[in-house]
């Protein structure tokens, strides 16, 4: 039934319940300098080993990671780039082995770790679906039964007998996801690749992920889109520098994570370059805190080396560099100290913590030179109504909230 075996201490499929994932004090290291393992690298390695110095060239990608996921749980894996999320997924997918500790996974694993999750470019879409199914340990007959669903989901009816190398990136991604999500996985792993697809496809993927969750499949999801994460997952695992720093309900983890990003963000506000931002402040209408649907004042104190015109961009996000909305102003900076003030009217934000991002450029549009790089300038809290709760199927891209009123009439 499964590819897993009893002989392999890693793939102890028979001892673990279907859909359960356990990571038992897992450590994983990579050679920091190993690009192509040539003979010379091997010889150097042997030399180092003889000298008794083995640890110098290694970097620990995961350190003592321990968690247990029950069948049917929806778990979000969050963390900055390089924190070890993808390595963790690869080890759960059992294509990579830990250096210490144990990982056990019960059942079949569907993994969308890179865009073309295991698709072979020389084969047609049809052949790929069957190949992948067999590799997952399904019988051909079973693959044939879900074949139509896969093709329909991936929207590649016309191209199914064409070689995958002639597919667009979007088609490959759709097929990759459909194959991973429809071939009856007990554990579904989805890496941040979904961000490559268009938003309609992302929605369908999220829809499908919720469906498989409802069928009792375990989901492990990696994304930088925190809102989607919050809507899809119930539990969060936060990896930082290869260590699992928090394992808690998703809202709690995301809250801590955002706060951490903020602390990290304020460090980034000291800029080097022709224009330096010395200070940033954010106030509400009367100098107090910012209120929903009210005005918000932003003030920068900047230091310029020469007199120059300058375009200022500010944006608001929940943390990441992609703002929910952006405003632009033109300033004339004098040599020395300057003050720039901006007022945003009717701020459409609910209660919560947000981040102001800012950058300054020489005027001249898209290719203009950066005077100050796009950086998180300051965090601020908004006082106002809570963000509206939504059912699982309604996923908000960002918690912008517009003042609203309703009328109902019969007939």
């Amino acid at each position: 039934m499964l590819i897993s075996s009893d002989s392999d201490s890693l793939a102890s499929g028979s001892q673990v319940r279907l859909g359960a994932v356990r990571s038992d004090r897992v450590w994983k290291r990579f050679r920091a300098d190993l690009r192509n393992p040539f003979l010379i690298d091997r010889l150097e390695y042997i030399r180092d080993r003889i000298r008794g110095d083995t640890s110098a060239n290694y970097r620990w990608a995961l350190r003592d990671v321990e968690f247990a996921i029950e069948p049917g749980e929806a778990v979000g894996l969050i963390g900055a780039n390089g924190a070890g999320k993808s390595t963790m997924l690869k080890m759960i997918a059992q294509v990579m082995y830990p250096n210490a500790g144990r990982i056990s996974v019960g059942g079949r694993i569907g993994a969308l770790i890179e865009v073309r999750a295991g698709l072979h470019s020389d084969l047609t879409g049809r052949e790929n679906i069957f190949l992948y199914g067999t590799l997952l340990g399904l019988k051909r007959k079973r693959v044939a039964e879900v074949f139509d669903q896969i093709v329909e989901f991936a929207q590649i009816e016309a191209a199914i007998d064409r070689q995958v190398k002639f597919y667009s990136t979007g088609m490959q991604l759709r097929l990759g996801f459909a194959v991973a999500a429809y071939l009856e996985p007990d554990v579904l792993l989805v890496d941040e690749v979904l961000a490559v697809g268009d938003s309609a496809f992302q929605q369908r993927c999220l829809e499908r992920m919720r469906q498989v969750l409802a069928d009792g499949t375990t989901l492990l999801f990696v994304s930088h889109d925190l809102a989607t994460m919050e809507a899809t997952c119930t539990r969060g695992l936060w990896l930082r520098d290869g260590a699992l720093v928090q394992d808690a309900p998703i809202r709690e983890v995301l809250g801590e994570y955002r706060e951490w990003v903020e602390r990290f963000a304020e460090l980034g506000s000291n800029q080097e370059g022709p224009v330096k931002v010395l200070h940033t402040s954010i106030d509400g209408p009367n100098g107090g805190s910012v209120h929903s649907y009210d005005a918000m004042h932003v003030e920068f104190t900047v230091d310029s080396d020469v007199t120059r015109p300058c375009a200022v961009y500010i944006g608001v996000s929940e943390g990441p560099a992609t703002p929910m909305f952006v405003a632009r102003g033109a300033a004339q900076l004098a040599a020395g100290s300057n003050t720039i003030r901006a007022t945003l009217q009717h701020v459409p934000l609910p209660s919560g913590r947000f981040f102001l991002w800012a950058s300054m450029h020489e005027p001249g549009g898209g290719i203009a030179k950066d005077l100050v790089q796009w950086h998180p300038a300051r965090a601020f809290d908004v006082v106002g109504p809570e963000v509206e709760d939504t059912p699982r199927a309604v996923v908000r891209l960002s918690p912008v909230q517009v003042a609203n009123s309703w009328e109902f009439s019969a007939g």
Partner: protein, 284 residues
């Protein structure tokens, strides 16, 4: 909340991950994954025959060209004394196993590098990749039997029936030996990429070092013995020639040593492959 700074620099030694691979268990796994081997073989064949319109012809081309070259230059020009009347028939008996072996190793050796897309994403016994290439080479060899039939027809002779009796054990020896070397080479290439460049040269040397163009039975008994252990293809080719062309029994003593060697090579190759398997995804 756990502070990453509180975690030690390295795992305590008792946690070290030891992969226990029992030979029996691994072989059973492989048997379970047999469908994968056939699927991958089918995939390779499809790719091959899809890209080349000539399809079957490509499988025939290599042995046919080699036979022509050998017959003209070795048979006619160099006049090697083989102990057999017809040089073309003599050489094809050596070429068929050799072509199988060399294409299985030449392509099978690179199979892990070429399938890194799958290796990075799908959990399966990794040996399915080199073994499926051995399967492809086997299919090509069956195709090239057309050339053998054509050659016998052209010479208006029939191979002696004795060869069919011996075919199965001979095929088994060649298969075990080829699979063992394919497993060994493909896993070592991942760790030492330079082998990739050395491999074609070694295979060319192999063509001369294997009794393809010369006769195994001309060797002294001691050399035959060393050959049977070092390169089991030698006595197999010799047995093919004796049974098919002369209708006499093969040298059973040498075949015995060859089988022993093939079995050892297979298990050593399998063992090494399994030992190195855990690090494939890190290196690819």
């Amino acid at each position: 909340m756990r502070d990453p700074a509180t975690i030690g620099a390295a795992p305590p030694p008792e946690l070290a991950f030891r992969r226990k691979v029992s030979l029996v268990g691994a072989l059973r796994d492989l048997a379970h994954s047999w469908e994968m081997v056939t699927t991958l073989t089918e995939r390779e064949l499809r790719i091959r025959y899809k890209q080349a319109i000539l399809g079957v012809a490509w499988a025939l081309l290599q042995p046919v060209i080699l036979i022509l070259t050998l017959t003209v230059f070795i048979g006619r020009v160099a006049h090697i004394n083989t102990g057999y009347p017809d040089y073309a028939l003599f050489s094809i008996c050596g070429l068929i196993p050799w072509t199988f072996f060399s294409s299985a190793i030449g392509q099978g050796g690179l199979s892990l590098l070429q399938n890194l897309q799958l290796i990075n994403k799908i959990k399966c016994p990794r040996e399915v990749f080199p073994l499926s290439i051995v399967g492809v080479a086997a299919v090509d060899t069956i195709t090239s039997m057309l050339a053998v039939i054509a050659l016998f027809a052209a010479k208006t002779t029939m191979p002696h029936a004795l060869v069919f009796l011996w075919a199965l054990p001979l095929i088994l020896i060649v298969m075990l030996y080829t699979m063992g070397i394919a497993l060994l080479v493909s896993s070592l290439i991942v760790h030492v990429r330079d082998i990739r460049h050395v491999l074609p040269v070694v295979m060319q040397m192999g063509l001369l070092a294997t009794p393809v163009i010369w006769s195994f039975e001309k060797l002294s008994h001691r050399d035959q013995l060393l050959y049977s252990i070092g390169n089991p293809l030698g006595p197999v080719i010799d047995a093919l020639r004796r049974t098919a062309l002369r209708g006499t029994a093969p040298n059973v003593e040498m075949l015995g040593w060859a089988s022993l060697s093939a079995i050892v090579v297979f298990f050593v190759g399998f063992r090494v492959f399994k030992r190195l398997e855990a690090s494939f995804a890190d290196l690819l």
